[in-house]
Structures are given as structure tokens and as C-alpha cells.
């Protein structure tokens, strides 16, 4: 890590030379300090703590903004000749550090790869550039009464290319699938500068598309995708159901999925998360904001120093678990019919129907949650979020294993989401102390800021490593939809085993010069 300077990163000689060469390709490029800073970070907790401490450990040498696949290919070929890294960056909303240029080089910003959308309502497809913003795409499809059915919490900032690179999933995945289920074909540039266009139809040999999806910029840079779109539903049915125990709630959700019903929303909150979700008497209108404000913030910092005590207090709370269920469709009767069938299965597991209001409240707040976490960082806490995946029989043991492993290191809250007939994702938030509030840190000395950062990163990494060790030991997958990035890399070998050799073979095939996002995916 470079020393704390308090200043933005400055241009390197390599960066200035690359800028000239990239500009000669008719591609916009910059090594101005604000551009280098913006391309040096994402929304990972580690990067948020860097920002609070005014540290910029991984600036690129130059930022490039190609507008076409051909321009991307030209930049990649240049990078191959110069043997410098090329790191694609989209909206910067990743939470795993996947787009951070850990070895410098060219940050290839994909946000200008925004060719006009081609919507074919008859075929149910849309062709979108990799730089297309998620929210913008959703709005344009809505005008045609269509939907992609992809609504990650990062919808407002993420890009299509980022979704492809990380195998993204959204809150509607139970009905519409994860992004990999939505992609029909892609255009991408590999590490030798070749433009690849996967086929939208039957082909021979291994399927090229899923070998590129999720490669996090290490095998190819996505420039465009053809995605499946659906008629936008008119009606929605929502319910919150309370269960006496997590076990009952998990059994009910599993039965709903195994019955063949496909809700568009399924989220199961653990007891603490149930309080935050607002269905119990302790409901606070905006819990994260309330916690980060004034006197509560001071109390929060103090309380987080004793996470074991906090978690034990949580254990003493009523153990109810909230499930939010939703169905959507063309007709009100249809959604109600499916909803009632699901409620009947919930009642068999002693679920109590709380009506639509708590679910509506939950839905309205879901896209604000990531931004409110920033308030906790500003108040002097860190929030690490993991999304891990497993099969149904392993879901509850996994939850308890992660809680047991982390309860002495951070406050733990969790929910189960992305339910499928075979299993689900467990999404865990680990909240711990991260030094002074941002306002104090900004006015304090660099030494204090550096010490705060070091302590916060140590605490954060200890909680994170304990959680992922438990996940790996339980045989679950270390990432459901956020990717590996820098954050999970240390656990990738445990996940893939001998598969890491196959991964390296793919790297040799698609990136023979080893220039695409080096230092990620163990490559």
C-alpha cells in the first residue's frame, strides 16, 4: 500500500505515454488525478474505508473510454504490445474489488459503450451496449411494456457489462433467473484483441458463453449483449408471513419452491434482520439511518466493540423470522391464485399472514439499503456483506456455522434470498467498529487516519475470513452473485480445487499475454 498522502493520485510517466498512444487510436483517455481516483475504487467495504482515510492504494496509470468493440480491441492490442494490464470498469458498484486495478495499467471504462438499444418485442430480445446503465435500461424497456426481470440492489449504478462480468443476480431471480439465464449472446474482446461474437442458437462443442460470463475481466471484455426480455407484468401480489422459527420459515420457502410455484420475490429474514425489516413491534422507520445519527452513532461504536455481547442479546430476542413473498402477472386473479397457494403451504409450517403492508414497506426500502450502509461507514462502522450459495439441506447449518464463526468479531444479521427449487443464497451482513466517524477523520491527522484504517481493515478481514472459512467448511459456494474479485480470492482454491488448473487453461486460451485484469481469480 502506498503511503497516506491525502492527495489524489498523480500521473505516471507510463500513464502519460499510454494516454498519447491511446489518443492516437481515436479513443478518449486521461491521466488526470480525479479520473485516476475514480477508476481506482469500487463499492467494496475495503475501498469505502480507503476513501474515508483518504488513501488511494491502486490507481491505474491511465483511464480510457472506448465507444465501440473495435476501439476496445485496439486498446487491448496496444496493451498486449506494451505488456501493461487492462482492467475493465463499469459502474463501479461491485462489492468484491473485482474492478480495482491492483497492478496499475489501463483502466478501460466501459460506460461509453452505449450503442442505442435494439428492442425486438416480437422476439423478446434487447441488444444493449456493455456500458448501458441498469436503471436506464429498465426505464427504456418499461416504455415498451417490457422487463428484463433483473433488479439487483445496485440497479441505479451498475452497467450491463458489470452484470455479465460478475454473473449478477437480482431480487427477482426466483422468477426470472440470474443474469446468466437472461443472456442469449455477447460480443466481447479477448486478451489477444480478437472480437468474439457468441452464437444465439444451437452450436457445437462446449458452450462459449458461460465460459466467458463471470470471468470478471480476466478472459475478455464485454462490449454488448443480447438479453431476453419479457412482457412487463401489470399486477403484483405481496405478503409478509411471520414464522415462529427460522427452521419453520426455511421449510415453508422450500416447499413453495418445490411445489412448482415461482414467486417473483422471496426473502427470508433471520430474527435480527426481521427487526430491521420492520415487521415486529420494535420497528424503526429507517433503522440504518437512525443508527448512524448523533447519539445513536456513539452508542453504536461503543456497542460494536463487544460484538459477542451484542449477538447474545440478539439471541435473546423473539426468534421469529419474516418471509416476504410476491407474485406478479397479467391479471390480479392470477397473482392472487398463486399467492394463496403459497400461503397455504406457509400455514402448514405455522406461518402467520401479516398482510401486504409490511411487504410493501420492505419493497419500497430495498434499493435504498446499500446507500444507507454508507451512513454506517460515515458513523465509524464497517459493513461487510457476503452472498453465498448452497442447497436446501445445508442452508440452516450454514447459517448457524457462519454465526458461530463470526459472533465474536462482528454483529451478524442475515437473510436467505434467490430461492430456487434446489437451494438458495444466504446473504450475511457483518457490522463492526471502524474507528472515528468520517467527519472527525477528515479533520484529524494522517497518522490517526492511517491507524484507524489499519485497525478497521484488520477487524473487517478477521470477520470476513472467519465467515468464508465457515462457508468453505460447510461445502457451500463462496459467492452467489457478487463475484470473487480481490475479496474472495484467498478462498477460491478451496472452492474450485483442481478446477483452478482449468481456470488457468482458460486464461492461456483467451488471454495469452496475461494482460486482462491480472491479480484476480488467481490469474
Amino acid at each position: 500500500m502506498v503511503p497516506v498522502t491525502g492527495r489524489l493520485p498523480s500521473a505516471t510517466a507510463l500513464g502519460r505515454a499510454l494516454r498519447q498512444q491511446i489518443a492516437a487510436l481515436d479513443v478518449a483517455a486521461s491521466c488526470e488525478a480525479p479520473d485516476l481516483w475514480a477508476a481506482s475504487r469500487d463499492c467494496s467495504p475495503a475501498a469505502l474505508l480507503w476513501t474515508k482515510a483518504r488513501v488511494f492504494p491502486h490507481p491505474p496509470d491511465v483511464v480510457a473510454w472506448p465507444e465501440t468493440a473495435e476501439q476496445v480491441a485496439a486498446v487491448v492490442r496496444l496493451a498486449g504490445q506494451r505488456q501493461v494490464p487492462v482492467v475493465p470498469i463499469g459502474g463501479g458498484s461491485g462489492t468484491a474489488g473485482g474492478a480495482i486495478p491492483v497492478r496499475g495499467g489501463i483502466a478501460l471504462d466501459t460506460k461509453r459503450l452505449t450503442r442505442p438499444l435494439r428492442i425486438d418485442a416480437g422476439k423478446g430480445t434487447v441488444d444493449a451496449g456493455a456500458g448501458t446503465n441498469g436503471k436506464r435500461l429498465d426505464e427504456l424497456l418499461a416504455k415498451e411494456r417490457l422487463t428484463l426481470g433483473h433488479a439487483p440492489e445496485s440497479l441505479r449504478t451498475a452497467t450491463v457489462g458489470g452484470w455479465l462480468a460478475t454473473r449478477s443476480a437480482g431480487v427477482l431471480s426466483t422468477r426470472y433467473g440470474v443474469l446468466a439465464d437472461m443472456v442469449l449472446s455477447v460480443t466481447a474482446v479477448d486478451g489477444s484483441g480478437e472480437i468474439l461474437r457468441t452464437l444465439d442458437g444451437p452450436s457445437a462443442g462446449p458452450n462459449l458463453l458461460p465460459l466467458l460470463l463471470g470471468s470478471e475481466g480476466t478472459l475478455a471484455i464485454f462490449t454488448e449483449a443480447r438479453l431476453r426480455v419479457w412482457r412487463r407484468p401489470r399486477e403484483r401480489w405481496l405478503r409478509a408471513v411471520r414464522f415462529a422459527s427460522l427452521q419453520d420459515a426455511l421449510a415453508a420457502v422450500r416447499e413453495v419452491l418445490r411445489s412448482g410455484l415461482r414467486p417473483h420475490l422471496v426473502r427470508l429474514h433471520d430474527p435480527l434482520d426481521t427487526l430491521f425489516a420492520g415487521a415486529d413491534p420494535m420497528r424503526v422507520p429507517q433503522p440504518l439511518k437512525w443508527l448512524a445519527d448523533g447519539a445513536q452513532a456513539e452508542a453504536l461504536r461503543l456497542a460494536l466493540r463487544a460484538p459477542l455481547l451484542l449477538n447474545r442479546l440478539v439471541d435473546a430476542l423473539p426468534a421469529s423470522s419474516l418471509v416476504v413473498l410476491g407474485f406478479e402477472g397479467e391479471f390480479e386473479d392470477d397473482t392472487a391464485e398463486e399467492g394463496e397457494a403459497a400461503l397455504a403451504l406457509c400455514r402448514k409450517e405455522r406461518g402467520e399472514d401479516l398482510g401486504a403492508a409490511p411487504a410493501e414497506w420492505w419493497l419500497a426500502s430495498i434499493h435504498r439499503a446499500p446507500w444507507r450502509q454508507a451512513l454506517l461507514f460515515a458513523a465509524g462502522a464497517f459493513v461487510e456483506t457476503l452472498d453465498v450459495a448452497t442447497t436446501w439441506p445445508r442452508a440452516e447449518p450454514l447459517y448457524h456455522a457462519v454465526r458461530a464463526a463470526t459472533q465474536g468479531l462482528a454483529l451478524v444479521r442475515a437473510h436467505f434470498a434467490h430461492a430456487a427449487p434446489e437451494g438458495c443464497a444466504l446473504e450475511i451482513s457483518l457490522v463492526g467498529p471502524a474507528g472515528a466517524p468520517a467527519s472527525e477523520s477528515a479533520e484529524g491527522s494522517r497518522d490517526d487516519a492511517e491507524m484507524d484504517l489499519e485497525r478497521a481493515q484488520e477487524g473487517r478481514e478477521a470477520a470476513w475470513n472467519a465467515a468464508l472459512s465457515a462457508v468453505a467448511a460447510e461445502g457451500a459456494s463462496i459467492s452467489h452473485h457478487s463475484g470473487v474479485g480481490s475479496a474472495r480470492q484467498a478462498f477460491l482454491h478451496r472452492e474450485l480445487g483442481e478446477g483452478t488448473r482449468q481456470l488457468r487453461a482458460l486464461k492461456k486460451a483467451f488471454d495469452p499475454h496475461g494482460i486482462l485484469n491480472p491479480g484476480k481469480l488467481l490469474l
Binding site: R167, L196, G214, S215, I478, A505
Partner: protein, 257 residues
């Protein structure tokens, strides 16, 4: 874990062996695999409904014809056995019946399996839905979608969809347009239906030879995947601009080009 050595041969092997399973496209039937590349070390994935841990390495074994990896074992998705909900309709011709199925897929009402057979007065399309709570709901909604273009045919026996194909069938992986283009020729059994197309077992009336059936399927731009002797290679990675990457991949894995 269910050992399925035959999986290595082709992506369709799971479907061919899928008696008792709800038929799904083979690429999604396997939750994850244990694969053996030429170096002999077993690479085993972790079973989960979805993962974001890099590229989907299972794909190196599925559909590679054993050139890159062999499959040692697979985690197969299983579904609760349910009573299938059948229904049948009459359409003006086989192409109209294919279009009716495509419409159901657009409405997310794809049946687990369907059959279309030409008759003197048009075509009969039979379907079955599965799913403990969803089958009846989906069947009723399908009837609503189809009522403007098709006529209910309650006299068709429930096992219409399950009857084996006539003559010498071929199995294809096809888009809806290909299935429509083939449709004047005969009988279609469809499974793994999705919004883009389906796997289909095609057969000709009066037991026409499989070679003729395959030729007609190819003329309609469908890819023949069974029987093995007639299987189409289909467009490979070269067609995607990845021919050089394929050669490098084969070399890196020590496989057969």
C-alpha cells in the same frame, strides 16, 4: 452423487437418460459436475443453485464430446414426482401448433413436454404440465392464452404426449422458426421448451428413414443431435471468432484437437 459416465459424450446424454426426471435442457439438468481433464486430476464443483465464482467450468465437460474433459459424476437436479396435468387442442396446422407452444413460452407457461401430430383436419397438440401446486394453474392459464387460436380437444387420451415416436426419429436442438419450417413433414415431441426453441424428436409418417428425417431437419436449420451417426457438428468456436482460443485451450488442457 449419481455416477453418469455417459454424460461426457454429449450435452444431450442427460436427457436421453432422463427417464423419471422432469425433462429439462441438459445444460441445466446438472447442478454441477466432477470432471476429469487429460491430466487425470478430478475437478469437482460445489452444488448450488447459482454461483459467481468465475467462469462456469462445468461447461468444459458438457458438450465437448470428451475432447477437453470426461465427466466422472454429476449432481443432477431432481424434482418431486407429480401427477402430470395433460391437455390437448386442435390447431389449423402443425405450424400453428408450434406457434401456440411458442406463445405459451412467451407467457412463461411452457409445458414439461408436448407433442404435435398432423391429422386430416389440421394438427393436434398435446401438452403436460408438472409441479405439485403449479401444474393445474399453468394448464388453466394456457387454455386462456390458446382459446383464440386453438380448440380444446378433450377426446385426446392423456397418454398422447407419452407415446413413443413413430418410425425412425431424429432428435434436434431447434429454434421455433426451424420447428415451424419442418412442421409440414410429420410428428414432433418437444421437451426442454424455452422462449427461443426446444429440443424435439421428429419423425416422419409411414416410418420414413432417419436420414430423410435428418435431411429435412437440416433444411429447416435445426441441429441434429441424435442418433449419434447422424449428429451434426454444428458451428463451433470458429464461428464466434474464437477458433484461435479453442486451439490454445485444447493445448493448455492437453486435450485432443
Amino acid at each position: 452423487m449419481i455416477p453418469r459416465d455417459a454424460l461426457a459424450a454429449t450435452r444431450v446424454a442427460v436427457v436421453e437418460e432422463g427417464e423419471g426426471l422432469r425433462l429439462t435442457p441438459p445444460s441445466t439438468a446438472a447442478l454441477t459436475l466432477a470432471a476429469v481433464p487429460p491430466d487425470g486430476r478430478i475437478a469437482e464443483g460445489r452444488p448450488a443453485p447459482a454461483k459467481a465464482v468465475g467462469p462456469d467450468l462445468d461447461q468444459l465437460a458438457l458438450g465437448g464430446g470428451g475432447r477437453l474433459c470426461l465427466v466422472a459424476a454429476a449432481w443432477i437436479r431432481l424434482f418431486p414426482a407429480t401427477l402430470a396435468m395433460p391437455a390437448a387442442w386442435r390447431c389449423s396446422d402443425v405450424a400453428a401448433a408450434v406457434t401456440a407452444l411458442e406463445r405459451l413460452c412467451e407467457h412463461r407457461l411452457a409445458p414439461a413436454r408436448a407433442r404435435i401430430r398432423a391429422g386430416p383436419d389440421g394438427a393436434t397438440v398435446g401438452m403436460v404440465w408438472e409441479g405439485i401446486a403449479s401444474a393445474a394453474i399453468e394448464r388453466d392459464r394456457a387454455a386462456r392464452v390458446l382459446r383464440e387460436t386453438c380448440v380444446p380437444a378433450p377426446e385426446i387420451p392423456p397418454n398422447f404426449v407419452r407415446e413413443p415416436p413413430d418410425g425412425n426419429p431424429v432428435e434436434v436442438d431447434a429454434r421455433w422458426a426451424s420447428l415451424r419450417a419442418w412442421s409440414p413433414h410429420g410428428d414432433l415431441i418437444l421437451f426442454g421448451l424455452h422462449s427461443g426453441g426446444a429440443f424435439a424428436v421428429l419423425s416422419l409418417p409411414e416410418a420414413g428413414p432417419a436420414e430423410q428425417c435428418a435431411a429435412l431437419a437440416r433444411a429447416a436449420s435445426a441441429r441434429v443431435i441424435a442418433p449419434r451417426r447422424l449428429r451434426d457438428a454444428g458451428p463451433g468456436w470458429e464461428a464466434a471468432g474464437a477458433g484461435a482460443a479453442w486451439e490454445r485451450l485444447v493445448e493448455a488442457l492437453g486435450g485432443a484437437s
